[in-house]
Every structure is written in C-alpha cells, then in structure tokens.
Symmetry: C2
Subunit: 304 residues, 2 copies
Amino acid sequence: MEPFRLHILGCSSAMPTMKHYPACQVLNVREKLFMIDCGEGAQLQLRRMGLNFNRISAIFLSHLHGDHVFGLPGLISTFSMLGRTQSLHIYAPDDLEKVLRPWLDFFSPGLEFEVVCHKVCPTREEVIYDDRSLRVTTLPLSHRIPCCGFRFDEKPLLPHIRRDMIDYLGIPTYAIAAIKAGAGWTDAEGREWPHERLTTPAAPPRSYAYCSDTQYLPALAKRVSGVDLLYHEATFAQSEAVRAEQTCHSLASEAAQIALQAHAKRLLIGHFSARYEDESILLREAQAVFPNTLLAYEDLQIDL
Amino acid sequence: MEPFRLHILGCSSAMPTMKHYPACQVLNVREKLFMIDCGEGAQLQLRRMGLNFNRISAIFLSHLHGDHVFGLPGLISTFSMLGRTQSLHIYAPDDLEKVLRPWLDFFSPGLEFEVVCHKVCPTREEVIYDDRSLRVTTLPLSHRIPCCGFRFDEKPLLPHIRRDMIDYLGIPTYAIAAIKAGAGWTDAEGREWPHERLTTPAAPPRSYAYCSDTQYLPALAKRVSGVDLLYHEATFAQSEAVRAEQTCHSLASEAAQIALQAHAKRLLIGHFSARYEDESILLREAQAVFPNTLLAYEDLQIDL
C-alpha cells in the first residue's frame, strides 16, 4: 500500500533539550512529503532521517513562535543549494511573509524557486490544501498567539480490480478505468455484472490530525473525530496545571480526553516541557484516560 | 591552569551533512565563553556539549552567510527563557542589526537583556575586544561578502609566587601583589631580592586564530604568526581548485601553507564541503605541507 507515514523530526517544547529538537514533523502521503512546523534543526533532521528534500511540496506552520519557525531559513537556503525549482508553499495563521521575506532577500538572494506564503485563518475550520491524494483542513486552536492545527485526510482510494473476473469476462483494457470509478459491465449475452462483483473494496482512507500548541479545547474533539492518529501537545503533567493554564498549553490527561472523545484510533503526545527528563509520567497520565497513547520521540516513524 | 579551550560545535560548509552541523565554535578563556559563528543548531550543540549558556558573553561572526548566522534567533530566544539579564555583544563585519532586529522584535519581544550588534571593519586588523584576560583582533579575509577572521590572544599571566621564598624571608601578605606585578623585596638587613628570585615565570599566554571563510590569502600568515592553534577553512581538496577559486574558498593544502608560513604550532581544518563523506583526503593534503594538522569534528575539544 502506498505510504501514509508520519516522521517525528522534533518534539520538544520551546526550549530544546539534550534529546529533543524543536517541533517538526513530516507526513509522507503517497511519497509526497508535507512538513508540519519547522523548528531549528529541521534540515539537519531531514538529512539524518534520509528524507528526500525534493519531495517536500508544502509546509504547514501551526503558529509563529520561534520554536516552530526557526528552521525555515536554513531549510530554504539548502533547497536553493540543491537546485530546487519547484515552488514552496508555506501555510501559516499569521503574516509570515512580512517576517520571512527580508531574511530570504538578505540570505538567499536570487532564489530559483518561488516561496509562497499563504496566510490561513486560524479561527475557522477550512480546507486549505486539496490535491488528488490529500485534503488538509485547519483546526482552530487556542494559544497565546494565532494558532491552528491541521487535519490531513487521504482521498478515498479506488477499489482494486479483480483480475480473475476481467479475464473470465474478457473485459477490454479501455473499460477498466470506468469500472474502477464505479461502473459495472454488460457482457456479450447482455448479462449485467455489478461493480461489486468486478472489484474488491479499496483500503479505507487514512487520516492524521496535528494539534499543537493549544490549551485544552473540548470543541476540538469533534473536529478530529475518528482520525487514525491524533498528535496532541502534552506539555505538562497534572502537577503543572496552573502553569499549563498560564501558558496556554495542555496536560497529558487533557490530550487524552480529546483522543477519547474523538474516538481516535491512536494518540501520540509530544511538545514536552524541558523539565521532564523522563516523560513516562506524561505517558502514564495520558494512558489512564486513553490507553492507546504513545510518546513522540525523534526518528519515530508511524505507518498508518 | 585556567582553561583556554576550543570546542567545535559545527564544522560543515554551507550545506550541513549527516555528521556535520554548520559553523560554530566556543572558546573558553578562563571560564568565560566566546562563541565564534553561530550556525543553525548552535544552541542544540551547546546543550549537548554541556556548555553553560550563562557564561557566553560575546559572539563573533565572521560574515553574514546563513550557515554562520541561522543559529542566532534560537540561541537568543533560549537565553531569554533562561532568564538572561547580561548584555549580549555580537561582533560582525556587516549590518547585522538591520537584519536581526526585526526578528528579535517579532519572535522575542520584551527581551530582558540587551543585544548589542557591533559592526566591525573587515578590511583592517583591529582590536575589537579587550578585557583583563583576552584581546580579540580582526583578521581581514577574502570571501564573496565582507568577512573577517579573529585572533584571540590571552593576556600575559602573572608569575607564580615562590611560597618557599616568601616564608623564608617572612614577606608580609600585603607585599605580594606588588611582587607578582614585578617588584623585588628588600629584607630587614637591607639585602635586595630581585623579582626573579621570588617568583617562577608564568606560563606563556596562549593564542588562537579563526580563519573562515576565505580564499587563499598569503598575507594572512603574518597576521596569525606564532599562534598555538590556527583554525583555517579547508573546503576543498586539490582536485576542486577551480571550484575553490570560483566560490572564494581554500584548499586543504592552502590552509596548510598559511600554518607553515605562520609557524603555527597546530593547524585545525574544517568547513568541509558536503562532497567529502570521508575527509581523510583533506587531512592528507594538508599534512603533506604541515604535518601537525588535525581534522575538526563535532564535540572536539582542544586544550591550549
């Protein structure tokens, strides 16, 4: 099956640690790569994880705090050195153009590719990207500055043709596309063969939601309902509830509440505060609410 | 002896690789830390190498190419989160203020410490930093944009007092500072004891020169003469001589020529082109000219 694969490049919160890079992920959808947030070191991690720079077609930024953005100048500069010509589309819920452009003009003059900054509205759920494989929808979040998450929904796949039936009925090649798309077949004797007899169903389309940074937001559950994998920030443990509220971040148990209410298949937590040298407390608190929870870590790769 | 210690945080050229971070070094002079260049990942490497963020008092940037600069926003943002109040002085041969300030205003508003950008003249040799332990002098280099190296000279140390002589002559404590500073002593019988009888000489002051990025510049040898350690870029091997000239970089053998003519004690080469997965060719070509050559690598620490 074609990949729908998440790579974790960084999962620290604002202050990177000995083991965690700032926020950055890559979602591989049928070999097209989508970057989500771009913390410092994104290009170093891309290289280390053997991900192909040329396959990155778009970057989605949750918000313009430095730990989600500072990898951009280096990444773009390396794209340029690698001879990129394909446009780079960056989606962000704030005026990235204003802050990024002067740096590109100064540090990467004469780029051979276009960097297109798309300002998305962080307060409504909206489709911001749509191609033949994928639809990306914004998820309003609640943080100290404009911020949104992203839901990635794979487009439904076409069913598989049953080769045995095609051969048995002698169906010509030109008719196959229509059958894949839903048609049936009428044979030489006028007998009707419904679509379902000629195909086996496609695998169900896959989905992933990225929610960081945000305070606990019960309304989010409906928006990420049924996803195969939910990434939700879990900056703090229960004992730091006051701090979480002050800084507009979530507790591990709150991330788990969202997963539970959303009927997500799995929950991945990250954006850990630097105070947790051992994050097992976060995992335990989340699993008490939603057992199918995993801790993010650099180099983690999850196939959906 | 108090440290005069070089740490390599990154030694790639423009494009980082699987094993090399972009240019960044820290020189520890008697426990005060001076950063030299600040490529992407500088703060990640600082953390990993256990260097104390609070001890960094100044940053020296050779030039404003991204691979020497992109670590600044993240480093400054982390300084802020760590509660820094001490001013941060950044020396650069170009208008850093103009390009950095808007990013600080946007990403790190309300900094509790001052970031002072000093524009230094890259075309003359000039003392740009001077405290009781250290003097830093610019070294004009020749690159595609304004660029300079830095020579770090330790201030002469005071001689060691000979405790046995002090006790023997019954010299009072109040007189010791003057003796350390060069005075002799006259005993109760009027006998003169010269300074040299009362002290043992201090260790010779130590020196380090950082030269990157630059094309081969024979005039540099005199300016770095006699240094204990010379870091010189060696982006290319002999076979890439044309490319080196086009891009204003040096060959390994040219770095070695400078070390040889300067009578440097040791040469450390770095800023390796990403094409050399194995840098031993660069080492061999340099050692053929100047045997006491070392290859830089991340986490390398050299005590002078």
